[in-house]
């Protein structure tokens, strides 16, 4: 198989996985979504005014390890996450998917992936659109899924969360 064909197949497999992830989130199947992550995972969103920041060192919007991510999923699965209950309706678009070579902070055997996204959120008469860049490190998968998400970093394009107010859904 040519190198081009191999690269294409790799990107197709990653796209298939990311589209599946987006579908789980749009369907609020959050437990299934959480199952896509590794035990040592990280899910983070830097501050809008510091998109290159590391939320471990500077103030960010979200910096979850696995227990915190589980807490987030449990919260959003309850009827007491008032910002998101009743649930908002969302549609996610994932695009511009690229498998990166020689990306930093990538464990041997993992794939570094960049993509862009847009999510439309409708709730209580409001429309919100959040767009941005996605940076993944994907660990090899198993029978249940082609990959496991080792890390997912979401860099918002918005200059500030105005008029959105909050990032209450999972991105």
């Amino acid at each position: 198989m040519s190198a081009v064909a191999e690269a294409l197949l790799s990107r197709l497999a990653v796209e298939e996985f990311l589209f599946h992830e987006a579908a789980l989130l749009d369907a609020w199947q959050l437990e299934d979504w959480l199952a896509l992550f590794t035990e040592d995972c990280r899910y983070s969103i830097p501050a809008t005014d510091l998109p290159d920041g590391d939320p471990r060192e500077t103030l960010g919007l979200v910096d979850d390890d696995r227990p915190r991510l589980r807490g987030r999923v449990e919260r959003l699965s309850s009827a007491k996450a008032y910002r998101e209950f009743p649930w908002s309706r969302t549609t996610r678009m994932v695009s511009n998917v690229r498998v990166l070579e020689d990306a930093p902070d990538t464990l041997p055997g993992d794939l570094a992936v960049a993509a862009t996204f847009a999510v439309w959120r409708y709730r209580n008469g409001d429309e919100q659109v959040l767009v941005g860049a996605l940076e993944y490190r994907l660990a090899p998968g198993d029978d249940a899924a082609a990959f496991r998400i080792r890390s997912k970093r979401i860099v918002l394009t918005a200059e500030a969360l105005r008029p959105h107010g909050t990032v209450s859904i999972i991105l």
Partner: protein
């Protein structure tokens, strides 16, 4: 609609004898009220601009919007801190077009008039085109009328005369001290800010930020998470007998209570992990050494949500944050959250601090989004009828607890007094806090 004195007197019903305190909801819905607030509150009070550490070096600047007015907050090349209106004295364009940075000078991009970091007009292209009557020394960037600092917190006032910042801060000073003293070498603002918004009246966020009554019901999912991490007494602390609320004078108020959260200062929590115990114990020992046991206890094991009237919150809770609440319209506000930390803190401790901060506070946390939802729900509910009152009488018959509403009454009494142009309110409900322990 124009407002008369009677409208303002009716806006707050304060009946101590019967224990009734009500606020008319039109104070939070009408343009007339908002326009008057601009004149009688925001044009007169001391308003927060920024923290000294944000412009640490000569030439450092940040842009700020204070009560809707664009400012440049800058440390001049001469070392002095100033705040200028960010508008060219030539034709009005914004001069500084970056959110922050370090400048040798500020040059307006429109006609290239250039101002020094001290605000002087130092460059006019093709100056020969002007007659001698144009005096560059009168055309420097306009400084704000007054600028003053307390414990690295810089405030400004659009009023050229009035009481000093220190007098204005009244009893809030001791609480600012309790926070500022947490760092041996003072505090600094960490990079990154939470910039968000809420479609509700600004005063609802001021109330919410010092409201202990909503903690348990609204933030159930946050406390449930803490419980899952091995701490199940969380929300109960808000109701303990030590959980107090105080009117600090001049509209400032505080809730002061045993910490229900992991604390970045020196309250170890299972969520920090065993490896953190030694370092957190060491931080507490240093506090005792420097500030005495009583004061160290207050810093480490108690929390405070401090309202600095009218719209600055210093929240010393799961994280340490400064929050500004800026009205945009009667039904819309902009919020900014800054993270403070002791200078020289270890990377591990900063990480713990940020984890606690992010988990609770801010637009991506497990709690703040529900606050935003609640305030927007109130604003939506206000549309049901224009003439209703909101009740704020909890605790009028007792020494107020954190879950009472004395702290909101302190705000509203000052608000009404300011709106009526009768100076400061009396602020005579409840005891003042005992003097904070001083270093021995």
């Amino acid at each position: 609609m124009t407002l008369d004195t009677q409208d303002l007197q009716d806006a707050v019903v304060d009946d101590r004898e019967r224990g009734i305190f009500r606020v008319k909801r039109t104070t939070m819905t009408t343009d007339a009220m908002w326009q008057l607030e601009r004149k009688r509150i925001f044009d007169r009070c001391w308003l927060y601009v920024g923290h000294d550490s944000e412009i640490a070096e000569p030439g450092d600047f940040v842009r700020r919007k204070v009560a809707g007015r664009p400012l440049v907050f800058v440390r001049g090349r001469d070392g002095e801190v100033r705040a200028f209106f960010n508008s060219c004295t030539h034709r009005g364009a914004r001069v500084c077009r970056q959110d922050k940075g370090n400048a040798k000078s500020f040059q307006c991009f429109y006609h290239a008039w250039t101002f020094s970091t001290e605000g002087k007009l130092v460059g006019i292209p093709d100056k020969e085109g002007y007659s001698p009557g144009l005096d560059p020394s009168e055309l420097g960037l306009r400084p704000v009328p007054r600028l003053s600092c307390y414990r690295d917190l810089w405030f400004m006032s659009f009023a050229s005369e009035g009481e000093s910042l220190v007098d204005y801060l009244a009893g809030a000073k001791e609480y600012i001290d309790l926070v500022a003293d947490q760092g041996r070498d003072g505090l600094h603002v960490l990079p990154g800010t939470h910039q968000y918004a809420c479609n509700a009246n600004w005063k609802l966020m001021v109330e919410n930020s010092v409201d202990g009554y909503h903690g348990a019901p609204l933030h159930h999912t946050y406390f449930a998470f803490l419980a899952s991490q091995g701490d199940d007494d969380g929300a109960k602390q808000l109701r303990s007998s030590e959980a107090r609320a105080y009117d600090l004078g001049n509209g400032h108020a505080v809730v002061d209570y045993p910490a229900p959260f992991p604390r970045p200062v020196a309250r170890w929590h299972p969520i920090h992990g065993d490896e953190a115990k030694h370092e957190i114990d060491g931080i507490r020992a240093e506090l005792v050494d420097r500030c005495g046991e009583e004061r160290a206890h207050r810093m480490a094991e108690t929390c405070r949500n401090l309202l600095i009237y009218p719209n600055l919150l210093l929240l010393d809770v799961a994280g340490l944050t400064l929050r500004t609440v800026w009205p945009v319209r009667p039904d819309s506000m902009e919020l900014t959250g800054y993270a403070l930390a002791p200078r020289g803190e270890s990377a591990a401790q900063t990480r713990r601090r940020l984890e606690g901060f992010n988990l609770f506070l801010g637009p991506g946390g497990l709690a703040t989004p529900d606050d935003i939802e609640a305030l927007e729900a109130c604003q939506e509910g206000f549309a049901a009828t224009a003439e209703d009152y909101s009740d704020m009488s909890r605790g009028m018959h007792r020494d107020a607890a954190t879950v009472d509403e004395l702290q909101m009454r302190a705000f509203w009494r000052e608000w009404q007094s300011n709106m009526l142009e009768t100076g400061h309110a009396a602020h005579d409900e409840g005891p003042r806090p005992a003097p904070a322990g001083v270093a021995s």
